[in-house]
């Protein structure tokens, strides 16, 4: 089993993760900014399509912001420190796919906000890459990946555990955003295989993918 550690670049400052978290904090603290960028189905239908993307950075309460930002901050820091490839694509693609996916699949949802879809995607992305490393880290990542998958499935089956009151607004968890974030992570993780598939054909691509990863 070949370790990947030597191939990984060590990035001292997780610039992209800090940018993502800072954008969420700014959207929360700057008065009047959230209504302009929140996922608002009616506004999107009237042409304000940027909300599909920017809604991910809006949070409805301080605890909502703290949980989402802290989770993304820690996971993003680890991804960037480990130098896992294509994480920038995750940060760009995940918000788009989450916004578009919610718009298409949940027409009843009028407002949406939160970085948790991205955070969930980042957890899946980190743990998938962790499976390629050896030692205890590999087993930690496997455990977290299984727990994360179990939690996403459970959330989807129960459609969120409860309706939480935030500032007098019944705040419904949206498990689909976690599913979409996780799927984006999986897609980006498998991206080299998809490229090799085009280039080399199915068998050779699979061989190359597993040879490179395990």
């Amino acid at each position: 089993m070949a370790t990947q550690k030597s191939q990984l670049r060590d990035s001292p400052i997780p610039v992209w993760t800090l940018m993502m978290v800072a954008a969420g904090v700014l959207a929360y603290v700057i008065p009047g900014s959230a209504p302009l960028i929140v996922y608002d189905r009616a506004a999107i239908l009237s042409g304000e399509v940027w909300r599909l993307f920017t809604g991910n950075w809006v949070h409805f309460s301080l605890s909502h912001l703290v949980y989402d930002s802290a989770t993304l901050g820690i996971v993003g820091w680890m991804i960037e420190r480990r130098g896992y490839p294509y994480y920038k694509r995750l940060y760009i693609l995940a918000p788009i796919l989450i916004g578009v996916g919610l718009f298409a699949a949940q027409p009843d949802l009028q407002f949406y906000g939160g970085l948790s879809g991205m955070a969930c995607g980042a957890v899946v992305y980190l743990t998938l890459h962790g499976l390629r490393e050896d030692g205890p880290w590999r087993w930690i990542c496997l455990t977290v990946l299984l727990l994360t998958s179990g939690k996403i499935v459970l959330e989807s089956l129960t459609n969120g555990f409860a309706v939480v009151q935030v500032d007098n607004i019944p705040f419904a968890p949206v498990p689909l955003s976690h599913v979409l974030g996780a799927l984006t992570a999986l897609l980006i993780f498998c991206w080299p295989y998809v490229r090799a598939l085009k280039r080399l054909g199915r068998k050779a691509a699979m061989f190359e993918f597993f040879a490179r990863n395990y």
Binding site: D68, A70, Q110, S116, K151, P170, F171, A172
Partner: protein
């Protein structure tokens, strides 16, 4: 009597008769319906105790024309022109309601707008009828539309040409003036409370030959209703803004609740945070030991 003087007197009399016929030929048609007559029929002192409305957002809104269509007419018209324009046809009512409702679908607090045909509203049906509509259409709030339209028809100076008979077919000597007021009163059905109201007004002027006067009046009536509807939309939007402010500033008058599921968020919880914190702590510990 000399022939010249005879012709002069005859011509003078004709002018006087024509002038009198012009001045006496004002006709007035009046169509109206009333929200008060619909909600409080036969009550001289319509007092209904309104409760504090609980606005459950996003709301399902109904739009309907109150029944009524009372028509009156005054003024002399020749027997051939005495047919009265009918009340606003149902097709026009539906078109107007759709025109108005299209402008309010964009609001996030409006979940759906139901256009309710007149057949579902009984004259003098009051809140009992509104409760039935609430059950039938699943609406929380209803915008009741009423109208008042007056059409005046006068004969202009050109009407003197009618004496030639051909003039009645080609000369547009009939001047008409159509004044319309559309009114929308928005009620929260369960609490019987009027939330806000807004008017839309319009004036349309036209002219016609006596032969197509009736047709012209119908055309002007429809055009005036559509103009009033446009004005109503603008005024309704203004009133809606004011109402939103009022709801915020007077929480004791209006209670707002949000239906579950309309607002959602991707939320991480303690489970995730503990999980990733553990991973982060392990990486830090590993780094410290390596160093």
């Amino acid at each position: 009597m000399k022939p010249a003087r005879y012709y002069l007197i005859t011509a003078g009399l004709l002018i006087v008769v024509a002038g009198l016929s012009i001045s006496c030929a004002t006709q007035r048609q009046h169509h109206n319906s009333s929200v008060v007559d619909y909600l409080y029929p036969g009550k001289s002192d319509p007092i209904e105790t309104a409760a504090v409305p609980v606005l459950s957002l996003p709301m399902r809104v109904g739009v309907a024309f109150v029944p009524g269509g009372e028509q009156t007419r005054s003024g002399y018209r020749p027997p051939a022109l005495q047919s009265m324009n009918p009340d606003l046809p149902e097709k026009e009512k539906m078109a107007l309601m759709k025109e108005i409702s299209e402008n309010f679908k964009k609001y996030p607090f409006v979940k759906s707008i139901e256009v309710i045909p007149s057949a579902y509203l009984r004259p003098g049906g009051s809140f009992t009828n509104l409760d039935q509509l609430r059950t039938m259409f699943g609406i929380d709030v209803i915008a009741l539309l009423s109208y008042d339209q007056i059409q005046f028809t006068d004969e202009g100076f050109l009407s003197i040409s009618y004496w030639t008979l051909a003039g009645a077919y080609v000369v547009r000597g009939e001047k008409d003036d159509t004044n319309t007021m559309l009114d929308a009163a928005v009620f929260h059905i369960q609490s019987r409370k009027m939330l806000f109201r807004a008017p839309g007004i319009s004036q349309v002027k036209g002219s016609a030959t006596p032969v197509n006067l009736s047709e012209q009046l119908r055309t002007d009536s429809t055009a005036s209703f559509h103009d009033a509807a446009k004005d109503l939309v603008v005024n309704l939007q203004e009133q809606l803004e004011l109402f939103q402010e009022k709801v915020k500033s007077s929480p004791e008058e209006f209670k707002v609740v949000h239906k579950p599921g309309s607002t959602g968020g991707g939320g991480m919880d303690a489970f995730w945070l503990i999980l990733v914190s553990g991973m982060g702590a392990y990486r830090l510990w590993l780094r410290k030991n390596h160093n």
